[in-house]
């Protein structure tokens, strides 16, 4: 049985379409929900968490409807997008409170909260008020609360936003470990590479419609001829550019500011594999490696165009 089933699901906000007649089944394991900002990812996740009502069709989680059904919802850990917090609470109090509202009591709640905080690497900061947290710390404490009640399914809306590469790597490992333990995950992102590192199973959504579904490699093959842009913030961008220029997988290079190099390539995964070694060999100081066309809007335009 699929973990989440969408059956002719539509959601309208007045005249604005959030989701348009979507039918899909999300299976076990990790599924990446990809789409540009405003594509309908958060709408889909909010519908799955019973925060929004379908305008048409239905959505089922573990075979059950979700609206005001604590029995189903308590089996799901939800990491909403944005910064929904009670800012005066400490990270520990926040996670502990949500452990208790999930039905855990006394020492079991305390133990679960501490464990979830430890899993997300927040033990050191758990005693501080959330209002003083960085964006990355906020993301991590949000993920801690999704794990605290040992849910069967995680629905994570842009969980990597604002996290540094180390935290991203650690969270990725944590999610992979959870899948091994039998937890299913639906994770959204507008950055293809983030999801690619976790799963090959994707749902690509654009303007409320599913434009591609299934194995990521198959989807990528359909857009192989479109270059991707990777932004590297480094202390010596020209030196790195000189090394990259020799590679045939690089379609273009641009030093867009004194510390920023933009790489165009049709093989982003190979460039991502190569970059760490090049940087280490040249002893360069890197501040950021990220997809420059983060929104992926160009990709969706491309796919939509191909379909039309």
């Amino acid at each position: 049985m699929p973990v989440i089933e969408l059956d002719n699901l539509s959601k309208w906000y007045g005249e604005v379409i959030g989701l348009n007649n979507v039918t899909a089944a999300i299976d076990r394991g990790i599924t990446g929900l990809l789409g540009a900002n405003g594509a309908g990812k958060s709408t889909l996740m909010s519908l799955a968490m019973g925060q929004l009502r379908p305008s048409k069709g239905s959505i089922r989680v573990f075979g059950q409807r979700v609206w005001d059904r604590p029995g189903v919802l308590s089996q799901v850990g939800y990491c909403p997008e944005g910064d929904p917090f009670w800012p005066n609470l400490t990270g520990y109090r926040f996670v502990l409170f949500l452990a208790k509202t999930s039905g855990l009591r006394g020492s079991a709640a305390v133990k679960a909260a501490r464990h979830a905080i430890e899993l997300t690497g927040m033990t050191e900061h758990a005693g501080r008020a959330i209002r003083g947290y960085s964006k990355g710390m906020r993301q991590r404490i949000k993920i801690a609360q999704t794990l605290v009640h040992s849910p069967k399914l995680l629905i994570l809306d842009e969980p990597f936003t604002g996290t540094d590469p180390v935290a991203r790597h650690e969270l990725g490992n944590l999610l992979r470990e959870l899948v091994k333990q039998g937890v299913d995950i639906l994770i959204s992102s507008h950055v293809l590479h983030e999801v690619e590192a976790l799963t090959k199973q994707i749902l690509l959504i654009d303007h409320g419609r599913i434009v591609a579904q299934g194995d990521l490699q198959a989807v990528r093959r359909t857009m192989r001829d479109r270059p991707h842009a990777i932004r590297v913030r480094v202390d010596q961008p020209r030196r790195l550019a000189a090394d990259l220029a020799a590679l045939d997988i690089v379609a273009g290079l641009k030093v867009s500011s004194p510390d920023t190099l933009t790489i165009e390539t049709a093989w982003p995964e190979r460039v991502y594999d190569l970059l760490p070694n090049l940087i280490l060999d040249r002893k360069l100081s890197v501040r950021e490696i990220a997809a420059a066309d983060e929104s992926l809007e160009a990709v969706f335009d491309y796919l939509t165009h191909r379909e039309g």
Binding site: S46, L52, P84
Partner: protein
């Protein structure tokens, strides 16, 4: 009971520790401040009747008719709305608790906190009015009030005011979920229904919480209608010793809460900007 007790305790803690609590505290301390000013800068209270009028006017016209509803307006409209605006409602509606349970637990916690704060306001007002005032020495000037025992009235107020908090908070919680601009509608309701309609001799007063509070208070403090300065006949018709408006007041609260639970169950509780991504 675990999730319910957790939310109840959490709501009380959040209400008390929130920086915004300063405003209701100032509002509820206003009558006491006025009494302190009067006692320090005006003529001494000449007789018991004046003391009686000053005390009951402070409670009736300032606290019960204006300031307690105002505090309930602030908390009622934000009871669910504050979590919706902050996005934190998502944590409360995806846990082991139905939406209506979440609403009722938050409501009960707020009633408790506000009832305690309002009673505390009465305690302060009472203390500042009567501490150091020798009622016996001025009683000879007001023989009709010679037997007046302020402590009795004080105790009645302590018991009745929580019922008022319940009624006002239920109404403003409902308004908070009815519209996208609850503050405007709440102020409109406060002014037209609780301030104007409850003071004019027309049948429409029966829609106000204030009216039933007055009926109840006049039932246990029979001299109270003198304050309202209405024709004797009407006063006798509306307020009679031993009468109570509590069943009607609880009825209003019950209907408002029932409607609010329906709204909270069927409505999407999402901040507009998130809902539209």
């Amino acid at each position: 009971m675990g999730p319910i007790a957790a939310l109840f305790g959490f709501t009380i803690r959040q209400t008390l520790l929130n920086r915004k609590i300063g405003l209701p505290l100032i509002i509820l301390a206003a009558p006491t401040a006025i009494i302190i000013l009067i006692r320090n800068f005006a003529e001494p209270l000449p007789d018991v009747e004046t003391a009686w009028r000053a005390y009951h006017s402070g409670v009736q016209f300032l606290l019960i008719q204006l300031l307690i509803p105002l505090v309930c307006l602030i908390y009622g409209t934000a009871l669910v709305g504050a979590d919706v605006d902050a996005g934190t409602i998502v944590y409360l509606t995806t846990r082991r608790m139905r939406r209506r349970t979440m609403l009722l637990v938050k409501f009960a916690a707020n009633v408790l906190v506000l009832a305690v704060l309002c009673d505390l306001s009465i305690v302060l007002l009472h203390a500042c009015t009567f501490v150091g005032l020798d009622l016996q020495s001025v009683a000879v000037l007001s023989p009709a009030f010679a037997d007046w025992n302020p402590t009795n009235d004080f105790c009645y107020y302590l018991l009745i005011i929580p019922a008022g908090v319940l009624g006002f908070l239920a109404v403003f919680t409902l308004i908070g979920l009815l519209t996208a601009r609850p503050l405007t509608l709440s102020i409109f309701y406060l002014v037209t229904v609780e301030l104007i309609m409850s003071n004019i001799p027309v049948g429409a007063r029966v829609y106000s919480v204030t009216h039933y509070l007055r009926v109840t208070m006049a039932g246990v403090i029979p001299e109270l209608p003198r304050l309202y300065e209405m024709p004797e006949e009407l006063s006798q018709e509306l307020y009679s010793p031993g009468a109570t408006g509590l069943p009607e007041l609880f009825g209003i609260a019950l209907v408002a809460l029932a409607l609010t639970t329906i709204l909270v169950t069927v409505r999407e509780l999402m901040p507009a900007k998130v809902a539209r991504e």
